[in-house]
């Protein structure tokens, strides 16, 4: 019996080696994810289950938001059409397994870049499209205006599987306050429970608080406290192991930010093709061979700007004009006092 087993395992091993061999040679030539995406004809993008301004679907199922725009930019770059995106709404808990298991190819869903996520679980963060920090929301009527008024026994509603859960513990522990965490899988339930009065405070990224507030039964009854208790750099994530795909997503985001820096908009990109600044011309595909390294044509970045717009346009359209966070804060260009600074496209 054991003899058979040994033969069997070697057989299995042989089959497996054959498989590795074929996939290996393909990946070496070109990005497997890129190839699959072009074959399918759409970008598979993981988003939130509805966070206004970041990733949110209207009644007709059209997705909008700054996180959504990252996926649209990639679709414009690799498929030539920003609308060729298939969105998968994911809870905080589901998001990483969806990416590592290959259900989606980009996760663009208010996800914080941390060491352990980047290094330990098969993910690669490609950049930051929103600099954020964790905050607290309370009912105005409570009279609380600062976290220094928090007392022992406070209950806090939040999402499971988030950095929020961990920061919250660090925060309350360092202040020596005992608290009751009430952690839900889905954001809608967190909001509903807090709104009903189950918790004294609702804690998550400040962007999330601002966005969720718009969904509450009476937004004016709630305030976000001024304190920020953590750093939450939010950005798109890809699976580890496909460096070409990783670069495509990273430079699609960088293109949007750099385009704003050079004043290139969806409206003037055509004109900019004949600019006399080479840095501008490179960003609209009029100079150099910027797409070749990814196996893309030269107009890939031009399409991002004309179809999706630059970062500023995306911010204005999704976050400022909707009244969620009119002030760009740190998410302003470095040239205008913010911290948005991306490497040059050259």
């Amino acid at each position: 019996m054991f003899k058979y087993l040994k033969q069997l395992t070697s057989l299995v091993a042989m089959v497996a080696v054959l498989f590795t061999f074929t996939t290996e040679t393909m990946a070496a030539k070109k990005s497997k994810t890129l190839k699959n995406t072009q074959k399918k004809g759409f970008v598979r993008c993981g988003v939130s289950q509805g966070l206004p301004g970041f990733s949110n679907a209207d009644a007709a199922g059209n997705w909008t938001g700054v996180d959504v725009d990252v996926c649209r930019a990639v679709a414009a770059a690799v498929l030539g059409d920003a609308s060729k995106v298939k969105y998968t709404p994911l809870s905080a808990k589901e998001r990483f397994t969806a990416l590592t298991s290959g259900e989606i190819d980009i996760l663009s869903r208010n996800t914080t870049w941390t060491l352990s996520r980047d290094a330990d679980i098969g993910l690669t963060f490609v950049g930051v499209n929103f600099y954020d920090g964790q905050g607290f929301m309370v009912r105005k009527s409570s009279g609380i205006t600062s976290t220094s008024q928090f007392k022992n026994g406070i209950s806090a509603c939040t999402n499971i599987g988030t950095t929020t859960e961990l920061n919250m513990r660090d925060f309350f522990n360092s202040k020596g306050i005992s608290y009751t965490p009430v952690a839900f899988e889905k954001a809608d339930e967190v909001v509903a429970a807090y709104d009903a009065g189950r918790c004294d405070t609702y804690t998550t990224d400040k962007s999330g608080l601002a966005a969720q507030r718009t969904k509450m039964s009476n937004p004016d009854e709630h305030i976000v406290l001024p304190e920020t208790i953590s750093k939450e750099p939010l950005g798109p994530v890809v699976r580890q192991g496909d460096s070409v795909w990783e670069d495509i997503v990273r430079w699609s985001l960088n293109t949007m930010i750099e385009a704003e820096e050079y004043g290139i908009t969806s409206g003037n990109a055509d004109m900019m093709k004949s600019s006399d600044n080479p840095a501008i011309k490179r960003l609209v595909g009029a100079e150099g061979e910027m797409g070749a390294a990814f196996g893309l044509d030269n107009d890939w970045n031009y399409r991002i700007i004309t179809q999706v717009g630059n970062y500023g346009e995306s911010y204005k359209r999704n976050i400022a004009d909707t009244g969620i966070l009119p002030d760009r804060g740190p998410n302003e260009l470095w040239t205008k006092g913010g911290i948005l600074y991306v490497p040059p496209s050259r």
Binding site: F96, T97, F184
Partner: protein, 381 residues
Amino acid sequence: MKLKKILPQFLTLLFIVLIFGFFTMNAQENMDTRGIEFGFGFLKQEASFDIQFSLIDYDGSKSYARAYLVGLLNTLLVSAIGIVLCTILGVVIGVARLSPNYLINRTASVYIEFFRNIPLLLQIFFWYFAALRALPMPEDASLLLGTSYMTIKGLYTPAPIWNNFDVFLISLIVSLVIIFFFNRYAKRKQEDAGIQYPKFLISLAIFVIIPAFTFIFGGVDLQWSFPELKQLAKTSFTYEGGVGIPPELIALTLALTLYTATFIAENVRAGIQGIGKGQKEAAASIGLTPGQVLKLVIMPQALRIIIPPTTNQYLNLTKNSSLAAAIAYPDLVLVFAGTAMMQTGRAIEIVAITMATYLTISLSISLFMNWYNKSIAIKEK
């Protein structure tokens, strides 16, 4: 001849091994290229997240293994309460379903049709959010039974503070052992000499008197800590002292009980109906009272029909308790397959452990129920 018998078996085995091998290899390779490691070492790491409700001592400085235990105990807690309550409710409704009284019988069947046909998750949400909306804020809650408060933040009841609890616990065990032997003795007496003892009353007396003695002689002492209203901010209150039972646990128990009871009620009805009318008439003709007919003739036979499908319902209830995650009750799935999985990224290991745990719970329930079913089976003499 022998080969003919073995060959299909061998081929099946080969097929399974090949498939299993293929998936393992594939997973291994994919995990390698993505830099994911496999192992259970993470269980010893600090969990660094807190849990709302725990039966054992826990906070974020404890390990993931401890967090697993917290989740497991919470799952067992809600399942155990659910199983007891849905059995009681199920039997009542099932018997009511057979009542000759039209009103009782209709009410029972409307109840069954209603709760059985609405998806359980919806019922959980309903009870949770309906309860949250309906319950008063802590400061508006009125006193229940002179000691407790039912509020949107949970049910606050007095908490027992024991002295020498272990002595008390031992006395409980001792009294149970004595009851067991007494019942055996009583049964023999009845079979041998036809003497009938009031078994239930005597058992109850033993169960009350022996533990009560430990208060007088064993140094056992019980005090209560009562919940007291505490102001957190201008319009925000909570209770301190006592035990707080979270509304999530209450809503989940309620939903699981009401849902599962419908299936058990149907089992009970089918079980009782499965016993021929002749049996009842024959029993009545030898002078047994209706209560005795039910207890001595109908039930022992009906139970054999009722128990196997009911075991299934117990398993369903336990598995359904994993819907807890939706309403923040920290069961095994929320704590371990949820938070711990996200924070460690050890998806394969954690899913494997979680599946093995549910399998073990299910098998234990099945084994116990099978044993119980055998033990009450009618022994042919």
